[in-house]
């Protein structure tokens, strides 16, 4: 488990502040997308985020647009997981489809602060921070197959291959 730091935000973090509309239709490469992550919310994020860091937020994370780059830009920035009290449904699906871990937790969001050390124990369903232990809800069975395949594209490839084998 690699240790990272917490980036803490509030409720209703929307897709426009995660990844602005003006970049959405420009087809930027992943490393460019990472540079614009949270641009209008926290300019420090893109400058200082490190692989293994974890974004922690309140309820309704990712509300707003269906733009997938709002998940892709965090993955490109090396974010290990987003931990929130709840996620908007399109964001949740997009993140799963792209292989960005989205973890729903009741207790971690209130307790964790920006800069706290954090690591995620995926197998154990735990979030660890400086001796404190928090829990996240396991992913629904319906999406586990997608996660296990490494995202929707790989999952769909597998399904298409299974189908053609009949």
């Amino acid at each position: 488990m690699s240790q990272g730091r917490v980036w803490k935000y509030g409720d209703d973090v929307n897709t426009d502040v995660i990844y602005a509309g003006k970049y959405t239709y420009q087809q930027l490469p992943p490393e460019e997308m990472a540079k614009h992550a949270f641009e209008d919310l926290d300019p420090e994020f893109a400058r200082n985020v490190k692989p293994g860091d974890v974004v922690v937020a309140g309820k309704n994370f990712g509300c707003g647009s269906s733009r997938e780059q709002a998940a892709a830009c965090l993955r490109s920035a090396g974010v290990r997981a987003v931990v929130a009290k709840s996620f908007s449904r399109i964001y949740f699906r997009n993140a799963i489809n792209l292989g960005l871990a989205v973890l729903q937790s009741e207790d971690a969001p209130d307790a964790l602060k920006t800069g706290d050390p954090v690591e995620v124990d995926f197998a154990g369903g735990r979030i660890l921070s400086g001796g404190r232990v928090f829990h996240f809800f396991p992913l629904p069975a319906s999406v586990l197959g997608i996660v296990e395949a490494g995202g929707l594209i790989e999952y769909t490839k597998k399904r298409l291959a299974d189908k053609s084998r009949g």
Binding site: D12, N14, T15, D16, V17, A20, G21, K22, T24, Y25, Q26, Q27, E39, D40, L41, K59, N60, C63, G64, S65, S66, R67, E68, A71, S86, S88, R89, I90, R93, N94, N97, L98, P140, S142, G151, L152, I153, Y155, T156, K157, R159, L160
Partner: protein
Amino acid sequence: MGRTFSEKVLSRKAGRPLRAGEVATVSPDFYLSHDNSSAIIGEFKKLGLSRVAARDKVVIVLDHIVPAADERYAANHKTIREFIAAQGIRHFYDIQNGVCHQVFSEASFALPGTVIMGSDSHTTTYGAFGAFSAGIGRTEMASIWATDEIWLRVPETLRVEFSGTFPPGVSAKDVILKVIGDHGADRANYEAVEFAGPSARHFSLASRMVLCNMAAEMGAKNGYFEPDEKTFAWLKARAKNDFTVVTSDPGAAYEAVLSYDISTIEPQVACPHTVDNVKPVTAVAGTKIHQALIGTCTNGRLEDMEVAARILKGRNIHPGVRTLILPASREVYLDALKAGLIEIFVDAGCVILNPGCGPCLGAHEGILAPGEVVVSTSNRNFKGRMGSATSEIFLASPATVAASALEGRITDPRTFL
């Protein structure tokens, strides 16, 4: 026990009885995408297929940055046009047509009892016609193009019942802002929202589209109005395919039922920077504005243009305000032109934009400078959405925006009635 609309329509599609919470794989009737089709094409190509599975279900409307604002957007559009030609996709609407949700509705792809997936969050709009329609992302759309299938969790349903009649100066936008303000931007997360009650029939189709469009701002998966004589009148002239009306059973199980007496609702404004930060217009009247936007997929239909024109007719826009008119589609634009509304707008000092998404998503055609304030009929007021991170967006009805454009400040439209 009875079933909700969403339970019934997905049961029909899946071929087995489903309840809320269950997951089913279904084949949608149509799938919509827009300028993000080039990203979908990129994902689709990774799948190694030469053909989309059901090309006649693919509907593509170029609307987000039209005409292309720079070379990058132009290249994006070119990729899409080439793919459409190569795949033989018939349902393609190029830049002259308008916002995807309006174009899709006018072309009558949105039919009662159908399942529609769109790679745009406001795909919820087609619930206005009794369809089950939800937004998805690009990778998900690429997978649908490849397989003609998607897995869906059957949503629980929140029912919102309306009684009473619209007071003067109050419209559908005020009603939905009131509901969102009272209950929050995540009240209906993962849920269906069914708009019902004795006054549901008072909502025009255009107004039903406003509510279903903004159900997305409550987090909803889909919105729904039960089809009635208004729906059938709209479809009569347009529907090209047969359809089966699906309605909620009496005694269906709802997550909750909210009740609103429309007669008591005042004009509402969503204040920066969240859609649920809603106040009566009287609480924010006097706020200075720099720009006014009337239109978009939320409020860019003929009835919206008519309301705005009634207020603007024979008057002049405040000299400190840029007022942008953004018809939702070419059809709306033509109707407004024939009705003399465009002349009223131009006379008053408005700028007429081409039908499309315009400045709503902050990519072109009216971007805000630092510190500027816009009052807009669109559906989102997130920080920085229409330009500078220090600009502010207030959301309101066409009547409120038109009145505010005349005064240079947020203004109660009832003063112009």
